[in-house]
């Protein structure tokens, strides 16, 4: 076989003591398309960042056109011919298609101004060559999500690329749009480009890719032509590992209690069928599914943070006017997906973060007694093992795991009946993870109903008593105790769908 156009040779990357990638061997040949598979956190994005010069390898090297390369920056790899389309778009809505594609490489007139005629004609030539039908002068804001992605692809390929890396390109596309994207990928491949295709959707991988590389825990676990694989063998390579005793034991045969939370006909987004389910006291219910499957939207809807139609009941009592404040009063508390975005008050002290939902707790409804938050926070710190010298320090001084403990402790101050946890262990090290799992099981045992969202399958499998797999905003499958496995979840979550609704991608 010919020489690969892009390759990783014994590539390793460590962040401090954490080995994220270990001795990765990976090749992309001209005209081939390689699927890069693996769970969240397996190391896929780190590998892409190494290939494109955003990170530098700890050991090993990247080879491009047979030469060893140490990219000084992503710009250097782009100029050399490695184009990347990231999951998050970088298009600028207020600029036209042409302006976006040639951003920071605009053709200039001899007076140093942008040559608009050349800009448009070059854009049209490029789009024509790629078989993309878009008006060069339209504003990107007015385009559909799929067309925006086409702009991204055209931008990535504006200079002569040899390799195109696509990171979850279909996460936000409808089925027709996906068809069109595949047509373009096949044309590019026929023209001799090497493609790296990152996706969780196995059907797509079998349709569009020629080779597969599976990464698990930073190591390549399986590699070969796509013809040698089936869905099951790919999933086995992705998830096969020991659970160990990271997780507390689940109650065996114990009957869960009365329905604590009930959701009736909740319509989260237009065109998505209504959702109804219950969570019982003492139960940990998992919500699994791919990013963008609507998990977070459903959680926010239950919490009242987004306006939706439908009914939420606590212990059989319907809640009327819906807002976070109302939910908190009713006993529903939620841990949000992103600590930094809508969980932490980064400039405030640990004590004030901890007491944020209940500043006057237990003393007076409207007053805050001097030192009371600090005193409560010190008790919390000991009880939850939060590592911090002084609860008056800004919470930004804490590690991710300790911040997460403070946030979970904050929820418990309101004596919740229902806990909704969106990615409870995101960015948390293994030791803290194990403590959080134990804490959650303990809370369930005390009679709380817990709804946990996670992108880490191992977490869903190890922690949950019952699991809903979400796909395109729907509850696609319900798995009970013994049925819960990573394979079962993946086969539902990654199945090709009959319809698509373009649920927002922050799921």
């Amino acid at each position: 076989m010919s020489e690969p156009v892009l390759a990783a040779r014994a590539l390793s990357k460590s962040f401090g003591p954490n080995d994220v990638l270990k001795g990765i061997e990976f090749e992309v040949h001209a005209g081939a398309s390689v699927a890069l598979c693996g769970e969240n956190g397996a190391g896929k994005s780190t590998l892409i960042k190494l290939l494109t010069g955003l990170y530098h390898p700890t050991s090993g090297h990247v080879e491009f056109n047979g030469n060893q390369e140490d990219w000084s920056s992503p710009r250097a790899s782009l100029d050399a011919g490695i184009a990347v389309v990231h999951q998050e778009f970088s298009t600028i809505g207020a600029l036209s298609v042409a302006e976006n594609i040639f951003l920071d490489a605009e053709p200039l007139t001899r007076f140093g101004l942008i040559d608009r005629k050349a800009l448009v004609s070059r854009t049209e030539a490029l789009l024509d060559k790629l078989g993309i039908h878009l008006p060069a002068r339209s504003l990107v804001d007015e385009l559909s999500v799929a067309d925006k992605q086409m702009v991204e692809i055209a931008k990535a390929l504006r200079s002569d690329a040899r390799v195109l890396i696509l990171d979850e390109p279909t996460a936000v596309l409808s089925q027709n749009e996906t068809r069109h994207l595949f047509k373009i990928i096949n044309e590019l491949r026929a023209r001799g480009l090497g493609i790296v295709y990152v996706s969780h959707r196995l059907d797509e991988i079998f349709e569009i890719c020629t080779d597969i590389t599976v990464i698990k825990d930073g190591v390549v676990t399986s590699q070969g032509p796509v013809a040698d694989y089936s869905h099951d063998t790919v999933i086995a390579a992705m998830v096969g590992r020991e659970l160990g005793n990271l997780f507390p034991e689940k109650p065996h045969g114990a009957e869960a209690g009365i329905p604590m939370l009930a959701v009736r006909d909740l319509v989260v987004a237009d065109g998505v069928p209504p959702v109804s389910f219950e969570v019982k006291a003492g139960e940990i219910l998992g919500l699994a599914g791919l990013v963008g499957s609507g998990r977070t939207e459903l959680a926010l809807a239950i919490y009242g943070a987004e306006a939706v139609s439908g009914t939420v009941l606590i212990e059989g009592e319907p809640l009327d006017y819906r807002s976070p404040s109302n939910s908190i009063d009713a006993g529903i508390l939620m841990l949000t997906e992103s600590r930094k975005d809508d969980g932490l008050f980064l400039n405030s002290s640990v004590a004030r973060n901890f007491a944020a939902t209940t500043p006057g707790h237990g003393v007076h409804p409207a007053r805050v007694a001097i030192g009371h938050e600090e005193a409560r926070a010190r008790v919390m710190k000991d009880r939850f093992g939060v590592v911090v010298d002084n609860v008056g320090l800004p919470i930004s001084a804490l590690s991710g795991g300790n911040q997460q403990k403070v946030l979970i402790a904050r929820l418990l101050e309101n004596r919740p009946k229902v806990l909704i946890l969106d990615e409870p262990t995101r960015g948390v090290d293994v030791g803290a993870k194990s403590e959080i799992y134990k804490m959650l099981r303990h809370l369930a045992d005390e009679g709380m109903a817990i709804l946990a969202i996670s992108s880490e399958l191992i977490e869903i499998v190890g922690l949950c008593d019952r699991v809903f797999v979400m796909r395109d905003g729907e509850l696609a499958a319900e798995l009970m105790s013994q049925e819960i496995s990573e394979e079962a979840i993946m086969s539902v979550a990654a199945a090709e769908t009959s319809s698509h609704h373009g649920v927002a991608s922050n799921g």
Binding site: A305, D329, S348, R367
Partner: protein
């Protein structure tokens, strides 16, 4: 302690950090007072000190309101316009001191409420909302007065701004009461916590159950009320009602709030800090006069001071 030692690294508790900032500001005030006294002993005369305090009083009211708005990530450009409008309207309508104050407070609350509604419920940026209010009020004022404001100031009114009670200027006692109330509200109530947490992270505040829109509206209302009060006190001090009462206070109040430690990014600010900063600003104006320097120098000093404060606080918040 040098400034680097105080602000060089972001260490210690949030409170210790705030105390260091306060100490630095107090130190700065002492230094400029000492230098001025050395150059001109007249500076420390009781008459001059009383002048400084009386000039600081109306600005002090406005600064406290401005700081509360800044804490919730806002900005109130309409404060000076509120001062003049409240003074012109409430004094024009009545000559009873109690009625004048009642009307002034209600009017300030109403105007602030409109600002807050525009920001919290209509999504208008604070800069634009309060700029528009400022201009509209100016038009209403001129239409009402026909360009020549009238109305007589009752004697009690003059006394409030320039008189003494138990040997202290009445205006200062008023400001002290307002400052204590504001400090208590910010530091010792659930409401105050929510204000600061909202400024730190509005999304997290919403998710932790804070009534976010009402918080913003209430902050602008307080700024409106305090600006109204300041307008009345200033008119009493100057002795005449003017269409341009309080001119320049919008920028001076923002400057004092920032120098006093309020962060325009929200969530931060203390009453003692901004009052100290008010005193620094007013002292500098006074010093320029005392030392016989040109008035234009005031502006240069004011601008430099804002930059200095910005540099000090930036250094601290950079991580």
């Amino acid at each position: 302690m040098s400034m680097i030692a105080l602000f060089g690294k972001n260490s210690g508790t949030v409170r210790a950090q705030q105390n260091r900032e306060l100490l630095l500001l107090a130190g700065f005030l002492v230094v400029i007072w000492a230098i001025t006294t050395a150059l001109s002993p007249r500076f420390l005369s009781p008459a001059n000190l009383s002048d400084i305090l009386l000039q600081a009083a109306p600005l002090g009211f406005v600064v406290i309101g401005q700081m509360i708005v800044i804490i919730v990530r806002g900005l109130d450009l309409s404060v000076a316009s509120i001062m003049a409008t409240v003074a012109v309207l409430s004094i024009g309508l009545n000559d009873n001191t109690v009625v004048i104050f009642a009307v002034g407070i209600l009017l300030g609350a109403l105007i602030g409420g409109i600002n807050g509604y525009l920001v919290a419920y209509r999504g208008v940026t604070p800069f634009l909302a309060t700029l528009a209010t400022m201009i509209v009020l100016q038009g209403i004022r001129f239409a009402y007065t026909g360009g020549a404001p009238g109305g007589t100031l009752p004697d009690t009114f003059r006394w409030l701004a320039t008189g003494d009670l138990f040997g202290l200027p009445v205006a200062l006692i008023l400001l002290g009461l307002v400052a204590i109330a504001a400090h208590w509200l910010l530091e010792h109530t659930v409401y105050g916590r929510r204000l600061k947490l909202y400024g730190d992270n509005p999304d997290a505040a919403y998710m932790t159950g804070a009534p976010t829109r009402l918080l913003v509206v209430s902050a602008f209302m307080m700024s409106g009320v305090l600006a109204g009060l300041a307008g009345l006190v200033l008119v009493g001090y100057v002795g005449i009602v003017d269409n341009w009462t309080g001119r320049g206070y919008e920028l001076d109040s923002i400057a004092a709030a920032v120098i006093g430690g309020a962060a325009l990014s929200g969530g931060k600010g203390s009453v003692p800090g901004v009052l100290l900063a008010t005193l620094v600003l007013v002292s500098l104006f006074n010093i320029v006069v005392i030392l016989g320097l040109s008035i234009e120098l005031q502006l240069v000093i004011k601008g430099s001071l804002i930059l200095l404060a910005a540099a000090v606080y930036m250094r601290r918040s950079r991580r």
